[in-house]
């Protein structure tokens, strides 16, 4: 079980709770604005881009290889970036704060 807080692009804060699955799916189920997850969570589209707040990368883990490649050329990506379809919900990430990244379109 984990409580996760999202800060949307219009600076609204929404805290949601999940047991399992990906953080992207949790965000979608709760209608967190700006988390589209268009590819369905297979790390193909980068429409679930978030910035991990408070330097808590140790809890979410680092970017995977494909994830890194998708983010490397994203104008809004930085060292705090993750695609939240690649973060699994567990006790480990309870209390995590994620800021929804700006939309990157081609």
């Amino acid at each position: 079980m984990a409580k996760i807080t999202f800060i949307t692009r219009d600076n609204q804060t929404i805290t949601v709770e999940g047991e399992s699955g990906s953080v992207m799916a949790l965000a979608r189920q709760n209608g967190v604005k700006g988390i589209e997850g268009e590819c369905g969570g297979v790390c193909s589209c980068a429409t679930c881009h978030v910035h991990v707040q408070n330097g808590e990368f140790s809890r979410t883990g680092q970017q995977g290889t494909i994830e890194k490649d998708l983010l490397e050329l994203n104008d809004h990506a930085d060292e705090t970036s993750r695609l939240c379809c690649q973060i699994r919900i567990s006790d480990e990430i309870d209390g995590l704060v994620l800021r929804v990244a700006e939309k990157n379109s081609f």
């Binding site: 209608g31 193909s44 490397e72 081609f106």
Partner: protein, 414 residues
């Protein structure tokens, strides 16, 4: 515009329609939003239908577009399992399958497309012929496969749906044959190099692909024979047809909308009838980048057009101008595509080194980069998108040289 006492009707509650409904609220539409679909299921993502939802690895519940509470919260009235049978643009009203008449101030057609059933002898009467467009279709295929003793499956059509379905059925223990009418799979959408790669991949996984196979008849029950015009025949407990779609334009015709193999819309998704908009698979729009009219079947196109229409309905003047992107997952291979390759006259193949196959195909019209297909190489997909968008001149010789590190500085024409 005062919208409080107004009604916006959206016909079609899949990716485009749902995106539009929620975007309308974000854009400030205060009036009624009525969202209809013939599909009785809570609206869902379609891409998993040929992938993890078909194999049963994931429940469709995980792929609903929005939970029911959110429709309630945003006061979006869902009319599922309801067909809109008539559209009267003059009186701004629609008639539903239960004869109810509903008036609108704004109408959005998100009617999508349906599987095309080719004219094959016996196809209408054969007992075990399936298509794959809806959740119900996917469930029907899975059940039929479970009940089948031999699990012999013939898939007609070697496009993305056919190939993804083949991979999924293989995973479920099926014996799969794909019959493709052209001389290679994915003929309409990719370069020969990509077709070869996928043919080899499927062969390696034990899926039997036959090209130049024009199916002319399906006989027999329950064991079916799929017969081709060269006399060859294939046994099938299940036949799955994936040979493209027909756009649903019946309502658009009633409203006398301008059409060209899809409903013609402007950059704000307006049709030629005032107050009627159209979005998603059923539309054809002018793409400013490629400077031609295109009809795109993709999640990205549906979602984005839904948002554009919502903004236009709320009084803005938005312009739809994005590079289309697509993806496909088969086995452990991730294919990502950006841009439209049609009209290319040269391809450059870039192969990466390493154990996992990883390469990209770059489509050019002379020196202009049109599109990139990347297999297990997200970086090429991202960089390709950037280059296409910025009309960057790419050094083709360097691009093909995998001795040079894959980074912008090494690929841009000096």
């Amino acid at each position: 515009m005062e919208t409080e006492n107004r009604t916006c009707i959206i016909i079609g509650a899949s990716q485009a329609g749902v995106s539009c409904a929620f975007a309308l609220r974000e854009e400030g539409w205060a009036g009624r939003i009525l969202l209809y679909d013939t599909d009785p299921k809570l609206p869902y993502y379609r891409p998993p239908l040929s992938k993890t939802a078909l194999t049963g690895e994931e429940l469709m519940y995980n792929h609903i577009l929005k939970p029911l509470e959110l429709y309630r919260k945003e006061n979006i009235q869902l009319g599922l399992g309801i067909k809109v049978v008539a559209l009267d643009a003059l009186n701004k009203e629609v008639i539903l399958s239960d004869h109810t008449q509903v008036n609108y101030d704004r109408l959005v057609l998100a009617t999508g497309a349906r599987p095309f059933i080719p004219n094959i002898e016996g196809i209408q009467t054969a007992a075990q012929v399936f298509v794959l467009r809806t959740q119900q279709d996917a469930e029907a295929i899975r059940h039929a496969l479970e009940k089948s003793m031999d699990k012999e499956v013939v898939i007609i059509g070697g496009g993305y749906i056919g190939l993804e379905t083949a991979a999924s059925i293989k995973k479920l223990g099926g014996k799969v044959t794909v019959l493709e009418r052209e001389k290679r799979v994915l003929e309409r959408v990719t370069a020969p190099e990509m077709s070869e790669f996928f043919m080899a991949l499927h062969a390696e996984q034990g899926v039997h692909i036959e090209v130049n196979k024009n199916v002319v008849a399906i006989h027999g029950n329950p064991k079916q024979m799929v017969v081709c015009d060269d006399g060859s025949a294939y046994r099938a407990d299940l036949v799955i047809v994936g040979v493209g779609v027909l756009v649903n334009t019946e309502l658009a015709e009633q409203a006398k909308l301008n059409m060209d193999r899809g409903i013609l819309v402007d950059a704000s998704m307006r049709t030629n009838q005032e107050h009627i908009y159209a979005i998603g698979d059923c539309t054809r729009h002018h793409n400013p980048f490629y400077d031609r009219f295109v009809r795109i079947e993709s999640v990205q196109n549906a979602t984005d057009q839904g948002k554009i229409a919502a903004a236009a309905i709320c009084g803005k003047n938005p312009t739809y101008d994005v590079l289309p992107w697509f993806w496909s997952d088969q086995y452990d291979v991730k294919l990502q595509m950006v841009g439209l390759s049609e009209g290319y006259n040269q391809v450059v193949v870039r192969k990466e080194t390493g154990d996992t196959p990883s390469f990209s195909i770059w489509y050019f019209d002379q020196d202009q980069l049109l599109a990139v297909d990347a297999v297990n190489h997200a970086k090429a997909y991202m960089l390709g998108a950037k280059f296409i968008r910025q009309k960057t001149r790419v050094d083709k010789t360097k691009l093909a040289d995998n001795g040079l590190e894959f980074k912008p500085a090494n690929l841009v024409m000096a």
